[in-house]
Symmetry: C2
Subunit: 407 residues, 2 copies
Amino acid sequence: MTSPKFDFENVIRPGLPAPGGRWSGFPPFNFVGGHNAPESIPTSDLIAAMTRVLEREGATLATYNLESGAQGYRPLREFVAAKLGRDAGMKCTADDVLMVSGSLQGLDLINQVLLAPGDTVLIEAATYGGCLTRYQRLGVTAVGIGLDEHGMKMDELAATLKSLADEGNKPKYIYTIPTVQNPTASILPLERRQELLRLAAEYDVPVVEDECYSDLIWSGERPPAMHALDESGRVIFVGSFSKSIAPALRVGFVVAPWAFMSQMLPLKTDAGSGALEQMVLAEYCREHFESHVAALNKTLKQKCDALVEAVEANFGTAAEFERPPGGIFLWVKLPAEVDTSRLAKEAAKHGIEINPGAEWSIEGPDAKRALRICYANPPIETIRKGVAALAEVCREEFGVPKTVANR
Amino acid sequence: MTSPKFDFENVIRPGLPAPGGRWSGFPPFNFVGGHNAPESIPTSDLIAAMTRVLEREGATLATYNLESGAQGYRPLREFVAAKLGRDAGMKCTADDVLMVSGSLQGLDLINQVLLAPGDTVLIEAATYGGCLTRYQRLGVTAVGIGLDEHGMKMDELAATLKSLADEGNKPKYIYTIPTVQNPTASILPLERRQELLRLAAEYDVPVVEDECYSDLIWSGERPPAMHALDESGRVIFVGSFSKSIAPALRVGFVVAPWAFMSQMLPLKTDAGSGALEQMVLAEYCREHFESHVAALNKTLKQKCDALVEAVEANFGTAAEFERPPGGIFLWVKLPAEVDTSRLAKEAAKHGIEINPGAEWSIEGPDAKRALRICYANPPIETIRKGVAALAEVCREEFGVPKTVANR
């Protein structure tokens, strides 16, 4: 005899997102998600770093936040501050850094401090899909600013700020991924960074600068962060080790002035981010970060080149894209008759996963025909086969590309 | 020349909690926080486990959630399910387990699924302070049920459920820490667990069972979890490795039926909990969990005994308490003339930190005179000195205890 089952449907809070599904494994051709190259995980150096740091400081695992307080493991904050000084021209110290459980927790904290339902934020018209879902859930209006091959268009930003100001609507912040923009992979030039800051000052708006990908540039050269160019303290900077070391390590960081930092701390209700991951990163990165990232970029560039070649070979002139200067994804636009949301659905039946443009951009004429292909994780041979298979699905569904490629 | 500083005061969301302060280190006599015994951290076994698991599976760090999906690292979920079957009589599999970044993230997810402003929950009248702050922030009314030396009083629970039902108020859940209750350290006997479930069924209310401390029992014996006794699927179970292995590892778990689990998944917006910590725990615990916890309990009991002895020696009959059967804290009541919030403030000036009862209980006659002393972290000699110093401060402020102890 069993008692009647309790029905949670009657007690869950109204308005929750749709329930999640059961995990059923990765598809054979996995072109979604910010995964990295498995062959580039520095396993033995991570083991060596972990062994050293635990032998030295293992007993501190007995205390929440080790002995560093709520901002996170101090040696890692020191590494982050030094790295950002060296690579991005930023002037900050360990006291300005909050370690978070991945940069997504950072974005959640920033949103919790700033956003209330009804607020407006400005974003790049094509941007990280997770941000779009966040704004939707928060009841926040995200206004998209158009992009070209150099990133956010400053004339559009100026016009949008002006028209919002005319309506008495002051956006809560400008959110940007300036360096290796997600999904377009563009790098915002110095002049636009300065112009963005000038406009932010003119309209008295903060800037959230998300620099998750800025380590992944083939040339190794990047413009200074906007945080570095700004003197007013309006820029909140977000970064991550997910792309430079390993995504499964959930370690990111936020750099913010104390007036903002102190508001985030009580909202971080998780009693600290994972200590082992912070310890091993601090120990590993001090010695290996630069050489690791240089080697990783070589691997990623090879995969990127293979993807570009496969797209050209299989889609021909039907595929429009900019050759990425770095990163882990390619943003492709197909002819207007292709609906990439439907393409994604059909491709999934053939074991191919892609991000349709509609999930990665604000509504717009290009969203429907665009797609994002992540290339860091699969082996090169899988990239080639997957793109060929995707072209085949696309041809069957939309008659695009018109002819079978010569391969 | 510097540009004017941006003022975040004007843009932060109204109604945020008070800003946090700068970390200034632990006080000499640190009797707060769920820290553990540093001498019990199994450093070398953790290093060995980490080395093995990374040598075998290091490359999977390149994928979010390793290859286990959003519920977390499958081998650890398998360990948790087997452990809960063995220790708590629960019937669950890895599919019923969600790994979270510490049990506090679990509580946050549960609250997000169930609670809206204006809701009511039932809690133990003295309970984990972090829950009280959470309810306050969520605009949820927490109704306290009285405790005796065996935990939540069932007659009070019955009466409260009845009077709320009479008002047409159906609580969203009953929250309980049945095994080594925080802060009283009581263990709810089998009969009360059954009665609580009977009442929950009668009033059609879910139960949130928080079992963070249930591994820390000197005798090693614990009653079955309510999750094990329940057949209706109304119990959501929360557990943690913070107390059994190390608090700085942020790894907890929630066991829930799929109807509830699937609602939590999209709310866990952190792209997974830390992989290294989950991997090392799975590898370490399979072999060492039981022997480690047995040894840890010996250490904790010695510290507990030392604290009890010190409290008796320094406070004499002024201190009322139950001798804990396990855990990491002692709940002490002082005579009514003592205001422990003021005591905590004065003690802090002497480098002694304690939790005043008001932070750890719903308003009530005993809250003002109670305090929680955490004993797992300091060395025994520090416990002795700290309690003597605390008694001295208390005597100066409140004339209690009346005479200086013979020591």
